[in-house]
Amino acid sequence: MNQHHFAFFDEGSKKEIRRTILKAVAIPGYQVPFSSREMPIARGWGTGGLQITLSIIGREDCLKVIDQGSDESVNAVSIKKLVHNTTSVEITERTQEATIIQSRHRIPEIPLQGGQILVLQVPTPEPLRQVEPREYMTKILHSEEEYSGAWLQLFEQIMKYGRTATGADHPVYVNSRYVMAPSPIPRFDNVKMNESDALILLGAGREKKIYAIPPYTDVQSLAFEDYPFAVEEFSGKSCRFCGATDVFLDEVLDSATGDVHYQCNDTSYCLEQLNSHEKAKEESSYA
């Protein structure tokens, strides 16, 4: 038996975060302030997501944690261990089995389902921060739906590079009201937020904000008519392990040979593909 209180937090902290989550769901895309707690990991390492996970999780839940698509990176493993040690909930790597998926920088390749909650870790929740450093001013801009700054940023990228050049965290319009930072997911994943079957909760621990996208909510990536939104291009490339083509691929440079390889970013998806190929091979060889 562990000697921690269930889910690490005291009940008062959970209550405050739970109230914040409900407000976030009721006002899609609006960043609700909350009193971010001290956590046993440093701010900026997923404390926002972790605080949401710990406040919503129950004994019946099954948790998956991924970091940049990987179930086995240090950050994902330490968060999983902390949650498991304080709740004893089941941990999984299979996207389909999880009821709560906490993630940094990716939305899994396997489509999310109705019963699932996706918790995203957010470093910079304010999409207007680069154009307006003062928090109170950005709150006023949001209240007035004054998003020229967000549009101008994209316009400047087009002027400079001939296209919008957001590497990740491409801003989205939620429910035709709030411009929102989708967290640093690739543009490839932005489209998964639109009319999602699963509830999406976003937590920024250092910036003390929680926001949400309810299921079946309109989420549109900011774009211009003559420069439409485009996701990362992987045509003609496939995963070197499992051969997948319609997924987000990592580019890996072999420094010895100078060769460039591509592989699935979502490791559990890749592994599942490999296993199913193996199984198919086995079955055909027996026959």
Binding site: E11, G12, Y30, N175
Partner: protein, 198 residues
């Protein structure tokens, strides 16, 4: 009281969250509610919502006025403070409320500001049953096409809510509870069809 303050409130919270995220989804908390062993002047599901969401950091108001027994119970169990209806973070409108009183509560409730729309009131409204076939049709975020909400709102309630929620993101969110341990939510984003209101 035989309520497990850790696991039961977590269970109730997830039901509220699911209903808030998918307006029209009716949750059943009767199992937990049956373990409440204290005499209450409200539905058990209402009291569970209070136990789950209230503490000393937020305030509440009970309607109709004069239900001092319920005010005391909620204060004692949650340490939340009873304040006037226009200041309260949570307004509990019990079954004894007339349509008029419930509509008044919506009119007087905090709706937040354009800068801080979260500083608004959540109204926990008791209705006899969340199983009506007629009900109300909802659309909006959280709803794929249309959702059937199993309670028919009066025209007065409908108008009071419309008035309050007309300038999104300001507005109020509703948690509706019934006498058989059910609960369902209507966030400010949900649109009611006037034709369906009686």
């Amino acid at each position: 009281m035989a309520i497990d303050i850790v696991h039961d409130t977590q269970f109730v919270f997830r039901k509220i969250l699911d209903s808030m995220a998918r307006p029209g989804t009716v949750a059943n908390v009767a199992g937990v509610a049956s373990r409440i062993d204290t005499q209450l002047n409200c539905f058990h599901s209402t009291f569970l919502c209070a136990l789950t969401l209230l503490d000393s950091e937020v305030t509440f108001h009970v309607l109709p006025t004069g239900n001092s027994d319920l005010i005391d119970k909620i204060s004692q169990y949650t340490l939340s403070k009873h304040v006037s209806v226009s200041e309260a973070d949570f307004i509990i409108a019990s079954k004894e409320c007339s349509e008029q009183e419930a509509a008044d509560a919506i009119r007087q409730a905090k709706q937040g500001t354009l800068i801080d729309p979260n500083r608004s009131s959540t109204i926990i409204l008791e209705v006899e049953s969340l199983t009506e076939k007629e009900g109300t049709v909802l659309t909006g975020p959280g709803i794929k096409t249309k959702s059937h909400f199993p309670f028919a709102f009066s025209k007065e309630m409908f108008i009071a809510r419309e008035e309050k929620n007309k300038e999104f993101p300001m507005g109020i969110d509703l948690i509706i509870t019934d006498s058989s341990g059910r609960l369902a939510c209507i966030p400010r984003t949900a649109e009611m069809d006037l034709k369906e209101v009686h």
